[in-house]
């Protein structure tokens, strides 16, 4: 018997796969960041599924994983903000992709 939680569990698996695909294959950082957020959302839904299944003692769902998800969403936002700031700064300094020459050939001057 498939319940509501299971349906969303499958949704979470799908989101993880889609997000990971984008994260690995997209060459530009902005698209990678978007894909990372999809991947993160899938992970959070997985916590939500555990929470929904764990409803007991008068609670419709287990509050502990739900609270974890709230913390996780905020951290994911902070990561996105930092990544966006980095990629905008990268554009200002002249590069537009994180795929450039291998590090061995880069000119890392004295600090």
């Amino acid at each position: 018997m498939i319940g509501t939680a299971t349906v969303y569990g499958l949704c979470a698996s799908g989101l993880v796969a889609i997000g990971l695909y984008g994260l690995v294959l997209h060459p530009t950082p902005l698209r990678k960041v978007i894909a990372f957020n999809l991947l993160g959302s899938g992970t959070f839904v997985l916590f939500g599924v555990a929470a929904r299944r764990g409803g007991a003692a008068g609670f419709l769902a287990d509050p502990v994983p739900q609270a974890m998800v709230i913390t996780g969403i905020v951290v994911a936002f902070a990561s996105t903000a930092l990544a966006v700031a980095l990629l905008l700064r990268l554009q200002e300094t002249g590069a537009s992709s994180i795929e450039t020459t291998p590090p061995e050939q880069q000119d890392n001057g004295a600090s």
Partner: protein, 502 residues
């Protein structure tokens, strides 16, 4: 099912202070900023060192783990912090290295007199303190979600340090580092979600009692370990590390290479020995060791081919981290009564500690050499020994540890790993340790040979290096050497507070 309860022990409050003190300092700098950054940091640094030493002393005195249950809420609902012998050791190590790095950085990240606040000092010192608190949380945390927050805390402190100078290459390196770290975190969190769904707890002690082999547990642990591998830069997930560690200012590189990459390894160690159902999976252990072997051999060869000193040291970090992953099959095959009484375990921990000291010293020495010569091209290092003799000496002493030559902590660590590998007939690991040592010797002597060579005509030193900075570097290198005088046997201290498992 409630696991054996945690109880706040006598010195438990020390753990809270170890985590919170750097945060207080960080907040104070952020709010008061304005020229006081360095002064505040130099109040926090010795304070934190004292706390770490006190915790280690408390663990040694009581012979048991020091515990603090936050808010009195019993795990798994609440969160507990716990210091056992291993975490206390790593906390002292962290405090020592941060103090040395602080001494090294003193004066270089101070605010110019004509400014009310400058970017680099303010950012450097706040992030350093943030990093410290994050590392302490990683070493003390007992709850997998709490540890996720700690890992993110660590990432957010470490990434901006990489691009402190704002050059294109370093911003690029920081972005790549951030993306790898985020993938690692998400994989870790995925595993945590699966474990919660299966057992309704993320407390390590609770999981240890309940966990058994089933698809959920295997997939969860697999995802978590892969995620942590990306953060620890194990081959083939190491590509982010060299540009990031080479691009950061020397003081930051030292901390990143010595400590930050050790945190995810520490968590892999804990997942493997404290959470996963025992005995561990043979195949997985062999795979981790093989990735370690690849790290050692490939990245040592790449290090040998580097033109820049800092990139060479960064590749050497990836290689040296490879040694840590040899521990898993060695411990599993050992016939010691518990994992932490095996020679492989002790060797692994000692490798972690001695590499941290040696690598911190090496990066700082490279920083001073670069400051004095104005560049860090290895082929052009002639005369470094006349400009910064103490730093070159420190580089050489630290090099002993990387090569595994006596007397040094690295020698003892590698000898222990070698002994464990021969005892358990893991011949590939024996070969990797020997080859790794030869390769490390080649790249260290290549640098030393150049640095000791007579200066070229027209050679002049660009900057005068204050003595206290060179002494901080030498201090770290000597500590790495002194570790070479420890007895060649498992240490009881590292086993304190570890629950007895076969």
């Amino acid at each position: 099912m409630m696991p054996a309860g945690y109880a706040t022990s006598e010195g438990g409050a020390l753990l809270v202070i170890a985590v919170m003190l750097p945060i207080v300092g960080m907040i104070a700098i952020f709010a008061l900023g304005l020229r006081r950054a360095e002064r505040i940091a130099f109040i926090i640094l010795p304070g934190g060192l004292l706390i770490a030493l006190a915790i280690a002393a408390e663990v040694a005195r009581t012979g048991a783990a020091v515990t603090y249950v936050l808010g009195g809420w019993q795990p798994p609902l609440g969160i507990a912090l716990q210091a056992d012998g291993l975490s206390a050791t790593l906390m002292v190590l962290t405090a020592l290295i941060l103090c040395a790095v602080g001494l090294f950085a003193r004066g270089t990240f101070s605010t110019p007199p004509d400014m009310s606040e400058a970017r680099r000092p303010m950012v450097f010192w706040t992030l350093m303190l943030g990093l410290w608190s994050a590392l302490n949380t990683v070493f003390l945390g007992q709850d997998l979600f709490n540890l996720f927050v700690a890992l993110e805390f660590l990432t957010f402190s470490a990434v901006p340090l990489v691009c402190l100078d704002g050059r294109r290459e370093t911003v690029q390196a920081a972005l790549r580092y951030l993306l790898f770290a985020l993938i690692g975190s998400v994989f870790y969190l995925l595993g945590a979600a699966l474990l919660y769904g299966a057992y309704g707890t993320l407390d390590m002690a609770g999981l240890r009692l309940q966990a058994h082999y089933n698809p959920a547990t295997s997939v969860a642990l697999g995802l978590m370990i892969v995620g942590l591998m990306a953060k620890a830069a194990l081959f083939p997930l190491h590509l982010w590390l060299p540009p990031a560690h080479a691009g950061a200012p020397a003081a930051a590189s030292a901390v990143l290479s010595a400590l930050v990459v050790k945190a995810p390894f520490f968590l892999i160690l804990r997942l493997w020995f404290d959470v996963a159902p025992q005995p561990g999976n043979q195949l997985a252990a062999q795979m981790l060791a093989w990735l370690g072997i690849f790290s050692i051999v490939f990245c040592s060869i790449i290090a040998l081919r580097q033109v820049r000193l800092k990139l060479m040291i960064a590749y050497s970090t990836v290689a040296q981290i490879g040694y840590l992953f040899l521990v898993f099959p060695l411990v599993m095959a050992s016939d010691a009564p518990s994992a932490w009484q095996s020679i492989g375990w002790t060797g692994g921990v000692l490798q972690l500690v001695s590499h941290a000291l040696a690598k911190a010293s090496m990066f700082l020495a490279a920083g001073l050499i670069a400051e004095a010569l104005g560049h860090d091209r290895i082929d052009n290092l002639n005369g470094a020994v006349t400009a910064v003799p103490i730093s070159v000496a420190a580089f050489g002493l630290a090099g002993l540890s990387l090569m595994g030559l006596p007397p040094s902590g690295g020698f003892v660590a590698k000898l222990m790993l070698l002994t464990a590998a021969t005892e358990t007939a893991n011949w590939w690991i024996v070969a990797a340790i020997l080859v790794g040592g030869i390769l490390a010797a080649s790249y260290v002597f290549r640098v030393l040979g150049r640095a000791m060579a007579a200066p070229k005509i027209g050679f002049k030193t660009l900057a005068h290096i204050p003595l206290h900075r060179e002494l901080a570097v030498l201090g770290l290198a000597i500590s790495a050497v002194v570790l070479g005088f420890v007895p060649l046997q498992p240490f009881a201290f590292l086993g304190i507070g570890r629950v007895g498992l076969p």
